[in-house]
């Protein structure tokens, strides 16, 4: 205070020369604090984030996933084929999902030699080879049903089958439009409940024998699995890899409410397991299946051998109706797996009831394995269950699934992978917009951009009629998007959100910036004064 009052005594000229320094100091403060300090603070405390093609990713859903399919039609008279094609084309013109190309097949050169539908199909295929995902309708007048779906990529039609029927078959069986709609639907109520297929699964077959002392069940489960399950899985492992493991589990306590029911069998009773109790049963079973060292998701196939004390065990629904069909008591719970109740033979339990020595017996491989394969079909979602009037499907004669069914599965998986990957990436981008402290490091950014590129490529492949490529690309896109989304490095800054950043630095910035900003006002006044002096 003393010094300033002294300085005010000094003449005006001196004061003016000091003014220059003050202005210089003010500008220096402004430059250091606002020009260097704040940007440096911002730079050093900012969250590391590689730039992503955000707008392009958000725009992914604008471009619909459209699949090209080629359907060939062979009729004996070409006018009928033209008519069918015309009607079918108009039926599929409106479709947003399908780009179906109908093709009329001319009669093969030696068509009169073909006396069976198979021979005719062979001749047609020789002249017009099909690629993956294609389909073919062949007219065969002597057919009983309107449409007969073969195990390959073809169906036989009768001479009077309407185009309407063919469109129905295409929609519900071959292309499975309703399921694709479920996948693509953004409405949660309509949306598909099941998840996109993962790249690898452990298929774990567990045989539960809760009372090994009293139930001498014998079963070479490893041989059974090698004969039935493994060859079948080998046929469908284009999308996911399956590792089959088996295990026996003993002394597993099942917590379920069992009710004794009198009947006419030699034992005079059976036990009822209520449908509503199945979730509890599943919980107590899954608790006892041992842990795994891999992080692959597991499909559990459980064969439960009830002890004679509570055998035979059958499932009842809430209306007290027996649900056993063809002697099979089984249920599935996707995606967890399925359970088969393998009741011991009556003779074994009779021996138990009469307090005799427990009888050793073999668990039937064929019975249980057929059920298990059927369960796997349903769990992997390969088979088409839909029944249609006048449409019949040829029974499977070998382990492989029907070709058209499997290709529908490939197509569906590809579309599901693309849709899931797009949604994953979009929600990640939305999250990044909302939560500013998510770190995106180089690895994650690479995964996201490669996933985005693969999505685009897969869409193009679908449209270009390359189902195999599309399936592989879509799977890769899906895996990369999951990797990006679930990478642990995203949350590196989880415990230092922006609010804390500001809270900690406010004691510094508030007192520093207020004088610096107010000195702007002073500079403005000084400039005004200078201008006034010049005018004078």
């Amino acid at each position: 205070m003393e010094t300033t009052s002294v300085s005010t005594v000094k003449p005006k000229r001196k004061d003016k020369s000091e003014d220059k320094y003050r202005i210089g100091a003010t500008i220096a403060f402004i430059v250091v604090i606002i020009g260097i300090g704040v940007p440096m603070w911002w730079k050093t405390t900012t969250v590391y984030r590689v730039t992503l093609p955000s707008n392009a990713i958000l725009g992914l859903s604008e471009q619909p996933i459209k699949t090209a399919v080629q359907v060939a039609i062979y009729t004996q008279g070409s006018s009928r084929a033209q008519l069918l094609i015309g009607e079918l084309q108009s039926a599929f013109n409106e479709s947003e999902i399908w780009n179906v190309e109908f093709k009329h097949l001319p009669p093969p050169s030696r068509s009169n030699e073909a006396h069976t539908p198979a021979a005719l199909e062979k001749l047609l295929l020789q002249e017009h080879p099909q690629s993956v995902g294609d389909f073919m309708f062949i007219e065969w007048p002597k057919l009983q049903e309107e449409v007969l779906l073969t195990t390959e990529r073809s169906a036989l039609i009768r001479s009077d089958t309407t185009a309407n029927k063919l469109a129905q078959v295409l929609h519900s069986k071959i292309l499975q439009t309703y399921r694709i709609n479920q996948i693509l639907s953004t409405d949660d109520r309509l949306g598909a409940k099941s998840e996109a297929p993962q790249p690898a699964y452990d298929v774990i077959v567990s045989v539960l024998n809760p009372k090994p002392r009293l139930t001498h069940a014998q079963w070479n489960i490893s041989m059974a699995v090698k004969t039935y399950v493994e060859p079948w899985l080998a046929q469908v492992s284009d999308i996911s890899n399956y590792t089959v493991r088996t295990q026996w589990k003993y002394r597993v306590a099942i917590e379920a409410n069992l009710k004794q029911v009198r009947d006419e069998s030699k034992l005079g009773r059976h036990y009822a397991l209520q449908e509503a109790d199945l979730p509890h049963l599943l919980t107590s079973i899954s608790q006892n299946l041992s842990a795994s060292t891999t992080d692959k998701p597991a499909i559990n196939l459980v064969v439960y051998i009830p002890p004679c004390k509570t055998a035979p065990l059958h499932i009842y629904n809430s209306k007290q109706q027996l649900l056993t069909r063809n002697g099979v008591d089984a249920f599935i719970s996707p995606p967890w797996g399925g359970v088969i109740i393998a009741n011991p033979p009556e003779s074994v339990c009779l021996a138990y009831a009469n307090d005799e020595q427990p009888l050793p017996y073999h668990v039937s491989t064929t019975d249980n394995m057929q059920v298990m394969l059927d369960q796997l079909h349903k769990l992997l979602d390969i088979s088409s269950e839909l029944q249609m009037e006048g449409v019949k499907t040829v029974d499977i004669e070998q382990l492989a699934p029907r070709r058209w069914e499997y290709e529908a599965y490939l197509r569906r998986s590809a579309i599901r992978h693309i849709a899931t990957a797009s949604r994953t990436l979009q929600s990640l981008i939305n999250l990044l917009d909302q939560i500013s402290y998510i770190v995106i490091n180089d690895d994650v950014a690479a995964a996201i951009t490669s996933s985005y590129a693969d999505i685009l490529a897969a869409k193009v492949a679908l449209l270009e009629h390359r189902l195999g490529d599309a399936s592989a690309l879509a799977k890769r896109a899906f895996v990369a998007s999951e990797r990006g989304f679930f990478d642990a490095s995203l949350l590196a800054q989880l415990y230092f959100p922006d609010e804390q950043k500001y809270a900690i630095y406010i004691p510094l910035f508030l007192p520093v910036l207020v004088p610096v900003l107010s000195s702007f006002n002073m500079l403005r006044k000084v400039l005004q004064n200078l201008r006034k002096e010049k005018q004078h």
Binding site: F29, T227, R251, P507, V512
Partner: protein, 630 residues
């Protein structure tokens, strides 16, 4: 859906199918050993052994008695042998003798790896993954095992798998801080084929197990393959539970005890899948004074290395043959009116070890390991030290001094090293690994000392509850005993406790663990970084204000002649001088140019008219008014 053609395949299969409830190539055994120890302690040792002759690696996909996770382990990693111990409490060698299975307090784990073209880096990776797997399987903190606390022992650990002749790798780690509790016991029991539903495992109720003075869960897996033939292998998995009860803690009078007293319930039978279920009760030495009810149906005398033990044997499968629904109990009845001091004292074991920490302050220290040989002949001793990276050990200070038993002070007599392996530690990367071998003369003690420095840790490196202190792992001491006194470990080739009967060998490999040490490193206040940031920011801000003002502002003083004298008048003037009713505080903030500030000349003129006091008052009232920026 029909699978008609599959029927014939299945029929063929059925004819060839050979599988049984208890498979021929897989056996499960359960054993329980009860040994009274000195000082009213009882040692109960459970051993569950699964031995699976699986043959080819392919068969590991299909498990029966062996848990699936163990089979997967052999497929996923090149592990040939694995030991995991989870222990609470300390085994008192001097009074209790040697345990059947050794373990150190906390968690301990070691594994042998072997495969063609296996490199050190691959082993490190597999080791970390393996620890993570078992962290999940046993609900233990084994996931903290990594390269910063693992070593590759050179001499002390010997492989127990077959064939171990070619290149193989070993990793060892221990976590002395780990606390073992129910959450470890439950998953451990789940690995048993019968679980805790029946058999000896039904005795292991957490409420009773964790009331013991010492409890140790063990898991050992090893593979035994034929030489040059990887397709003929045996997988051996041994689960052990070693408990020491203090009878004085059980609510009862006298020294009687029974299975029901120890475990809360009697035995409900045997595991149906077990090939043998036997209880062994030690009948000589400290067990001799007890009367057993019911008396053991059979007795077995074993002499091993000149040391005889008598066991009463109860075969549970015989006891429960008549399938009655009852609980089996064994009671140990002590003679009445016996005085404690008359009781037989056990002979001290030939070798025991202790460990201390010397030095003062939080900077320098000295780790001391004392090994005592009470045998008359010299014995070879191997000591393995794993010193964590936050403790710096100085090799040049390592020495071994010797004192004969009976003397209290260590003289200057030192013992020469026969063997020394030293891998220096690296801050935040590697622990110090030290292995020493020497010959300890009979009837004497050896004092192994090494000087250490403690590092100061970064604030993120402190574990939760940092004031608890930091552990220095227990040392492992190994020796080869010429006689079997107190020695009850399983022979290398055996897999059952019964295999240790009459297993006389030229020497007996003994392993001991010392106590773990705890050091308190300087512990900071963990909110400090935030406080420091806030405080530093505040100081900078406080300093900045005046500096900025001095550098950029000119302070001039204004004096007003017509200043009202009393407080009310001043207030009145303040309220009405601006023409509008502005609050005084708000009015101070914004000063129109020229309102209170006069050109320097006028200020100069005004200065003399007013006295000092008034000036000060005015300053207090509206300081802003008088500061004018020029």
């Amino acid at each position: 859906m029909s699978w008609t053609h599959l029927w014939c395949v299945g029929a063929l299969l059925l004819a060839t199918a050979v599988a049984q409830t208890t498979p021929k190539d897989e056996h499960f055994h359960e054993e329980l050993v009860v040994r009274p120890l000195s000082g009213d302690h009882v040692n109960t040792y459970f051993q569950f052994t699964t031995r699976w002759h699986y043959g080819q690696k392919e068969n590991l996909y299909h498990t029966q008695l062996t848990p699936r996770v163990i089979a997967e382990l052999l497929q996923q990693f090149d592990v040939k042998e694995l030991h995991i111990g989870l222990t609470q409490g300390l085994w008192r060698y001097e009074t209790w003798g040697y345990p059947i299975v050794e373990a150190t307090s906390g968690a301990e784990m070691w594994a042998w790896f072997k495969a063609t073209n296996l490199t050190d880096q691959q082993v490190d990776k597999q080791w970390a993954q393996l620890a993570n797997v078992f962290s999940g399987v046993l609900c233990a903190s084994l996931n903290f095992v990594d390269n910063t606390n693992s070593i590759a022992p050179k001499h002390l650990l010997r492989p127990q798998f077959m064939p171990a002749n070619r290149e193989n790798f070993v990793r060892y780690a221990s976590l002395p801080r780990e606390i073992v509790c129910t959450e470890n016991l439950t998953p451990w029991k789940k690995l048993l084929p019968c679980g805790s539903a029946s058999g000896f495992a039904s005795l292991l109720n957490s409420g009773y197990v964790h009331n013991t003075k010492y409890h140790s869960l063990g898991l050992k897996v090893r593979t035994l393959c034929q030489d040059h033939d990887e397709d003929n292998c045996i997988l051996e998995m041994t689960q052990t539970a070693n408990l020491v009860y203090d009878l004085r803690l059980l609510e009862q009078s006298g020294n009687d005890f029974s299975l029901r007293r120890l475990f809360g319930m009697g035995l409900n039978g045997y595991c149906e899948l077990a090939s043998s279920s036997k209880i062994y009760v030690q009948r000589n030495e400290l067990g001799a004074r007890y009367q057993l009810v019911p008396p053991p149906p059979a007795e077995e005398t074993t002499t091993r290395g000149g040391y005889t033990v008598v066991y009463g044997v109860y075969d549970m499968q015989e006891q429960f043959q008549d399938q009655g629904e009852r609980l089996f109990n064994i009671a140990w009845l002590a003679p009445k009116g016996e005085l404690r001091r008359n009781r037989q004292k056990p002979a001290p074991p030939p070798i025991y070890a202790h460990r201390y920490l010397l030095g003062q302050g939080q900077e320098r220290g000295r780790i001391v390991t004392e090994v005592t040989n009470s045998h008359y002949a010299p014995l070879p001793i191997l000591v393995q030290e794993l010193i964590p990276w936050y403790v710096h050990a100085y090799l040049h200070t390592l020495n071994i001094r010797r004192r004969p038993l009976g003397r209290n002070e260590y003289g200057s007599e030192t013992l020469p090293f026969k063997l020394l392996h030293y891998a220096p530690g690296k801050q935040r990367e590697l622990p110090t690994h030290l292995e020493i071998g020497f010959l300890l003369p009979g009837q004497s003690s050896a004092l192994i000392t090494i000087d250490v420095d403690y590092l100061v840790l970064k604030w993120l490196e402190y574990p939760p509850d940092a004031n608890h202190g930091h552990y220095i792992n227990a040392a492992l001491v190994a020796s080869a005993l010429p006689m079997g006194t107190n020695y009850s470990a399983l022979p290398l080739e055996g897999h059952l406790f019964a295999h240790s009967f009459n297993a006389t060998r030229p020497s007996y490999v003994l392993g001991l663990h010392t106590e773990a040490l705890i050091v308190s490193l300087p512990t900071p206040d963990f909110s400090m970084p935030y406080n420091v940031i806030c405080l530093a920011c505040t100081v900078v801000a406080l300093a900045f204000g005046p500096i900025h003002s001095v550098a950029t502002k000119l302070i001039v003083v204004v004096r007003q002649t017509s200043a009202p004298r009393n407080f009310l008048k001043k207030l009145k003037e303040k309220l009405f001088s601006r023409g509008s009713p502005v609050l005084p505080t708000a009015g101070e903030a914004d000063v129109p140019e020229g309102a209170g500030c006069l050109p320097p000349e006028e200020q100069d003129a005004n200065e003399n008219d007013n006295d000092e006091e008034e000036e000060k008052e005015r300053e207090k009232e509206d300081g802003e008014d008088k500061e004018c920026a020029h």
